[in-house]
């Protein structure tokens, strides 16, 4: 039965503008990073074009593959957390906003399959977005002819980006639960923004390794030390957050009143 539910969830994505919007939004990231690299490398030409070359120069950036990959990992990790929250808010919240949740709940299908199928759809969608952005990033970096490229560096960058994307994904079942609890798009988006802000605040304290939404920035080196030093306990926190989110989402579907 899960295969049938999964097929219907993919069918629901057909003709959805949100699919293309999310791709466009994430694709703008590498373009922005590539533009910054170009400004750093060509400050004179950038200034003539009215771009903020001076500011870019002052930021201490270097136009190299390592710097480019570092920013890419941050894009996938931090920007991705927000975009992924948007994607999941859409997948789960649309059933309430469009009034279709009630059509799913009195069927010969266990309700948990809907939660799991939607999370699988989000995972597939997210993986496709990240892969598309990685391909785009390599193409842009190559077009810019950035220096200091190596195969080892590229493999490491892809690994870090995929790990950041995976950790970001593990946090989204909580967003899914909030979408169902709040019955729409706005509560989960508000929740995701609040958690990102709280994660940022806690990142300046000793709590960063233990607060799920601080762990992604910690992991990608946006705060504190680089990824390799993330404590195993942090990964346990993220895994528990994932499991708690999945359990809460299924319980919400199964037990909560749907007075839509």
């Amino acid at each position: 039965m899960f295969a049938q539910v999964l097929a219907t969830e993919f069918l629901k994505l057909r003709r959805s503008k949100v699919t293309w919007f999310s791709l466009a939004a994430l694709s703008l990231g590498p373009l922005a990073i590539a533009l910054m690299m170009w400004i750093v490398r060509e400050p004179g030409r950038a200034a003539k074009l009215g771009l903020l070359g001076t500011k870019a120069n002052l930021s201490g950036l270097t136009a190299t593959w390592p710097a480019y990959f570092s920013m890419l990992t941050m894009l996938v990790g931090i920007g991705g957390m927000l975009l992924l929250a948007f994607v999941v808010a859409y997948i789960f919240g649309r059933e309430y906003t469009e009034g279709t949740a009630k059509n799913l709940l009195a069927l010969p299908v266990g309700r948990h399959w809907f939660a799991l199928a939607k999370l699988v759809v989000a995972a597939v969608w997210w993986t496709a977005l990240v892969l598309a952005v990685l391909v785009e990033s390599f193409a842009l970096g190559a077009a810019l002819r950035l220096p200091d490229f190596s195969a080892r560096l590229a493999v490491g960058a892809v690994r870090d980006a995929l790990l950041a994307a995976a950790v970001a994904y593990l946090l989204v079942p909580m967003v899914a639960w909030i979408a169902m609890l709040g019955r729409g798009y706005l509560p989960p988006l508000g929740f995701a923004l609040a958690m990102l802000a709280l994660g940022d605040v806690l990142s300046h304290t000793g709590w960063a390794p233990w607060f799920p939404w601080s762990i992604v920035p910690l992991f990608i080196g946006a705060i504190g030390k680089p990824a390799t030093t993330v404590a195993p306990g942090s990964l346990v926190v993220v895994a528990l957050t994932f499991l708690a989110g999945v359990a809460a989402t299924i319980a919400q579907l199964r037990w909560a009143d749907n007075a839509q």
Binding site: A7, R14, T100, L105, A106, P108, G110, L253, D257, A259
Partner: protein, 303 residues
Amino acid sequence: MSAGAAVSTRALSKRYRDTLAVDALDLDVRRGEIYGFLGRNGAGKTTTIRMLLGLIRPTGGQVEVLGARVGPGATAPFARVGYLVETATAYPNLTVRENLEIRRRLTKAPRAAVDEAIDLMRLGELAERRERVLSLGNKQRLSLARALLHRPELLVLDEPTNALDPAGIVEVRELLRSLARERGVTVFVSSHILGEIAHLVDRIGILHEGRLIEELDRDQLRAAERLYVRVGVSEPARAAALLSGAGFAHVEEADGQVRVYGAEGRVPEMARALVGAGLDVTELTSVREDLESHFLRLTGGPE
């Protein structure tokens, strides 16, 4: 629980904070019948239907649908149940056909079921159009097509003729009648308009403030269309008291009129009594109380 009933509830209740939406409801819908579930807006019809379908949890009591207990997350009976709850909803960015295809997959209906449902609800010309561009009436048709798609044994329909034009209402009524007659489908249909379902149903249950206050079968429905004599008179209160005193058993006085039930053959006698008491009589008319009036009387008069 009543064995063999398509829908059976015992002491079914639902409370929302201070509001008792459904109050100890005992209901039995027989297999193959069309049961009209009537009540004013806010009477508790939709709440009851949601409990029948497991969409909300009862505060108390039990529900059985097609012999299976309905509880949180229950799936057992729903392969054989089609339903439409309140407003018609579907995925707006999908076509009529795609919306039905989703239901087909989830109910494991055969591939041909989608086309059958489209034909049944006359949605052929709209099959490839997205739901968002449909009129309200056609959205309702799509919802009905979805409810019927897997050939259910029980149809639970909450105000199914909402948004339909008069021709559409007649069409749906005929469809439900033929489903019950030809396929033996049990139909549980709610409405707040008695006239809309009175000539369709085999039995009717009237819900008021969460309680089932009356159940009538077809014969009783006819009997409920009572005759009375409407009396226009100068002093209605005095006239009512006078007629009661003169042996007219069932006299009501309201809105400046007097109604005398069961007195169709005694109009001359009534006239003599009133005129003899010095009252000015302006009207003495035999009237058949329709079902709508009966319903309004039971549920406390016009809104």
